[in-house]
């Protein structure tokens, strides 16, 4: 008997202590919150209770507070009746301080009765201060939808979900970042996307330990397979239609709160050279554009190095008729070809960098002034030959045709090792650099899938949408690259069938 009493007393003591803890923690929470000047709290005396209201004035919409919360509070008798009283669906009743803290920081209003602290109410009244959905700027297309992502995750998901109104389209949300607590969503279609890919993405994201995630490009850098490679291994896009179609293809997409760009994986290198507009154009035209772009990339990487190699070592290669042109343009130039090329290449890079840092209007002016004035002046001053000027300008232009911005940067960067090797060993140097590039690309993977596919491993079926884009009637199968669960996109026969009435 006595033992039972003792135990009971002990348990009561613990309960009391618990209560005390809770009080203290709400008090200490208030103390912590009060340290910030934008935290507002005040007490209201009503007939039945005295309410404390607290919120971050910068996070909430005061209109909601005045219109949907205050007028209803005078009828309140206990906190637990809050959800039925207010015309707002998202009301949380809790006593857990960590929940309180997190939700206050998300834009909730805290409400509690001073006399009854067991339960506190949290009312959602956050304000989303982001811009409106606007035109895509980086991946603009003449044909096709003109919506682009904004900085709000919910808006972005809405843009994608509108295009995929099926319950199989699933979104898994995670929170990453010790300081930023960024919401990250993984989007895929159940039954199409390969489970392994989805798990890889979720596992890599949940393993991340980083303080601030301010943009999706940080996520790319943190979770891609080879972080030391200059090549991005996840496509970055601002077009919701691109994300929707990629998800439909069996890929996995990642959207980050606060980032106007989504990520797609697994990808291949050829996808970086396909603009989404290709799907809106006739397949012949689209294939032609893709080939042009691919040729542009090769030209952009190889043109200047070949010029340097030929003029440094292999002048025998120049045909008779072309000798005169080259000799007259180079005869007065005191610099060796490599320096000549470096000066011009660096000038172009400077122009690009200056243009990127300056406001748009000034940037354009700088581009014109720099391009024309510096170019002509350096030729007239005899520092560079005009043949090289043409080559370098064309190469720079060619590098801008890459539809994905990140890849364009890479293309411009890898030209420089080629240049150096061309100077050191001529054509052999260029060939060696090219081999090294190939080996590097062979080794790269995107979420564990080969990056150079369908070229290697050779998969004839996937060529239909890589270097060229064949007609949709041939695209009935999803790419092998994604190893999808459901491999058929649609029935090939049905798409071709034509029920038009016959005209005589």
């Amino acid at each position: 008997m006595s033992a039972w009493r003792r135990r009971r007393r002990q348990s009561k003591g613990i309960e009391k202590e618990n209560d005390k803890n809770k009080d203290e923690s709400i008090e200490s929470l208030f103390q912590q919150l009060n340290a910030s000047n934008d935290f507002t709290h005040f007490t209201f005396q009503y007939e039945k209770c005295s309410l404390v209201i607290g919120y971050y004035s910068t996070l909430i919409d005061s209109e909601i507070l005045h219109r949907d919360v205050f007028p209803f509070l005078k009828d309140l008798d206990v906190i637990s009746s809050l959800p039925t009283l207010l015309p707002i669906e998202e009301v949380i009743l809790t006593s857990d301080t960590s929940v309180i803290k997190n939700n206050l920081l998300k834009g909730y209003i805290l409400l509690f009765d001073v006399n009854n602290m067991d339960q506190v109410g949290l009312v959602k009244s956050d304000v989303d201060r982001t811009r409106q959905v606007s035109l895509p700027e980086v991946e603009f297309s003449v044909v096709g939808p003109k919506e682009s992502f904004v900085e709000s995750l919910d808006t972005n998901i809405n843009l994608v979900r509108k295009r995929l109104p099926i319950p199989e389209f699933v979104i898994k949300e995670l929170t990453v970042g010790r300081l930023s607590k960024t919401r990250i969503s993984v989007l895929y279609i159940e039954g199409i996307a390969n489970k392994e890919n989805v798990n890889t993405v979720i596992q890599r994201l949940s393993n991340l330990d980083f303080d601030q995630i301010t943009d999706s490009s940080i996520i790319t850098q943190l979770i891609q397979d080879n972080q030391n490679s200059p090549f991005p291994q996840l496509i970055d896009t601002e077009r919701p239609d691109r994300i929707a179609s990629a998800v439909g293809e069996g890929k996995v997409a990642i959207l980050v709160d606060g980032a106007p760009h989504g990520l797609i994986g697994p990808t291949t290198i050829f996808e970086f050279f396909s603009a989404f507009e290709d799907y809106y154009l006739n397949w012949v035209v689209a294939s032609f554009f893709r080939l042009v772009r691919f040729f542009a990339v090769l030209f952009s990487i190889l043109a200047t190095p070949i010029y340097v190699a030929v003029l440094t070592y292999h002048f025998e290669l120049i045909p008779k008729d072309m000798v005169a042109t080259l000799v007259t343009s180079r005869s007065a130039i005191p610099l060796p070809p490599i320096l000549e090329a470096f000066v011009l290449e660096l000038a172009i890079e400077l122009l690009r960098e200056a243009g990127a840092r300056l406001p748009t209007k000034v940037g354009q002016t700088i581009g014109i002034v720099g391009g024309i004035v510096i170019g002509t002046a350096s030729v007239e001053a005899g520092l560079t030959s005009n043949v090289l000027l043409i080559i370098v300008a064309l190469a720079a232009l060619a590098s801008f045709t890459t539809p994905v911005y990140q890849m364009g940067n890479t293309i411009r960067l890898i030209r420089f090792p080629f240049l150096l090797m061309a100077h050191y060993m001529g054509f052999l140097g260029v060939a060696i650099s090219f081999c090294y590039l190939l080996i590097h690309l062979l080794k790269l993977t995107s979420l564990g899938r080969p990056f150079l596919e369908p070229f290697y491993p050779p998969r004839v079926q996937d060529f239909k949408d890589s270097l060229v884009r064949l007609p949709f009637s041939l695209q009935s199968k999803r790419p092998i690259q994604e190893q999808t669960q459901d491999t058929m996109r649609f029935k090939a026969g049905k798409a071709k069938k034509n029920d038009d009435p016959k005209r005589s």
């Binding site: 292999h314 025998e316 290669l317 001529g426 052999l428 260029v430 081999c435 062979l442 290697y456």
Partner: protein
């Protein structure tokens, strides 16, 4: 059998077999075989190709039965020590193939492009490429073999230019050489086909290896086709005496190619050839390093590094045409013995021993 992730599709064996056969030999095989067989040398090319196909068949007989690579077969049949010794001979043979390809390529570069090239520096740069490929694993080696066949294929288009000046009557009269002369030429031609025996090492890395046999044969046939194509053009383009003076007849043929935007196509050819020899060296080094790693149980990366340093030193030691010719002779001799005598013997022996063991097992 290896893990599934490391394995390759069976049809890639086509490229592996072809890539390792195509080496520097294509650039100058004509002189050696036309010395004895003259305008009938094309028969020697076909004969050699067919013989190689027979050997590939024998190799598949052995491998399909055993389902493991050469090192394990040796260990199984002869025990750790003697088996290891035999394996070492093969490894040395493969590494020598890699060495001779690298050194001959450097020689061509030296003669045709950069007379004053720093041999050591150049080999270091190429060996760095080899290192980064081989450490990537067998899939990467296969990848570079595939690309090394597909990308430089445009080169063979340039061989249509000499046809303009070719005189195909040079091929006549057919069969004006004795069988003996032809067999000597066939023996000399074998060097151009060697290297395919690396199949003995990468067999466990093939998915459904039995299906890969036809691809191996086809790869060999492609090599045969290319040799034949080039040889017939050479016979038609040069007279027999001219060929005798050309160490690299293929390269000499390129000299007459003239395009509106470029002259001296042989520079492009030699440069692109780097992508053809790279898989060759990579596969040889891979087979050698994998063998050493398996015999001595060492770290693969360290073995590769060790092998590459040895290759580097050897390229520096070999000086001039005579040394290269000598090594070529040794290799073709060693290759002939290993491929035409050792492999059939091993196959028979393996059959007998497994039969005896089975008999013992069922008796006891």
């Amino acid at each position: 059998m290896e893990e599934k992730q490391k394995q390759i599709s069976p049809f890639l064996v086509f490229f592996l077999v072809h890539a390792v056969q195509m080496g520097v030999g294509v650039l100058g095989f004509q002189r050696t075989i036309m010395k004895s067989a003259g305008n009938d040398a094309w028969m020697a090319v076909i004969a050699a190709g067919i013989l190689i196909n027979v050997i590939i068949m024998v190799m598949y007989l052995l491998l399909n039965k055993q389902q493991k690579d050469l090192i394990d077969i040796h260990k199984d049949l002869f025990g750790k020590w003697i088996g290891g010794f035999f394996s070492l001979i093969w490894i040395i043979y493969w590494l020598m193939i890699g060495l001779v390809v690298l050194r001959s390529y450097i020689e061509i570069v030296q003669v045709w492009v950069f007379p004053l090239i720093n041999i050591i520096m150049f080999s270091i740069i190429i060996l760095i490429l080899v290192y980064s490929t081989v450490t990537g694993g067998f899939r990467i080696v296969t990848g570079i073999s595939f690309l090394g066949v597909v990308i430089p294929f445009y080169i063979f288009l340039t061989f249509f230019f000499p046809i303009e000046y070719a005189n195909f009557r040079n091929l006549l009269p057919i069969w004006n050489h004795s069988v003996q002369e032809l067999s000597v030429a066939t023996k000399d031609m074998m060097l151009g086909y060697l290297g395919f025996s690396t199949l003995l090492m990468y067999y466990p890395y093939i998915k459904n290896p039995k299906k890969s046999q036809k691809w191996a044969h086809l790869g060999n046939v492609l090599t045969l086709g290319i040799y034949l194509f080039i040889l017939i053009i050479t016979i038609a383009f040069f007279s027999e005496k001219q060929v005798g003076k050309q160490i690299w007849a293929t390269l000499s043929m390129w000299k007459i190619v003239e395009l509106p935007f470029i002259e001296r196509i042989e520079y492009i050819g030699i440069t692109s050839w780097i992508l053809i020899i790279l898989p060759n060296i990579c596969l040889a080094v891979w087979a050698g390093s994998k063998g050493i790693q398996k015999i001595f149980n060492l770290n693969h990366k360290k073995v590769i590094l060790f092998i590459l340093i040895i290759l580097l030193c050897s390229t520096a030691v070999i000086q001039g045409r005579e040394d290269i010719e000598k090594i070529n002779q040794y290799i073709s001799l060693l290759g002939l013995v290993l491929v035409f005598i050792y492999i059939p013997l091993l196959t028979i022996l393996a059959f007998l021993i497994t039969k005896i063991r089975k008999g013992k097992a069922s008796n006891g």
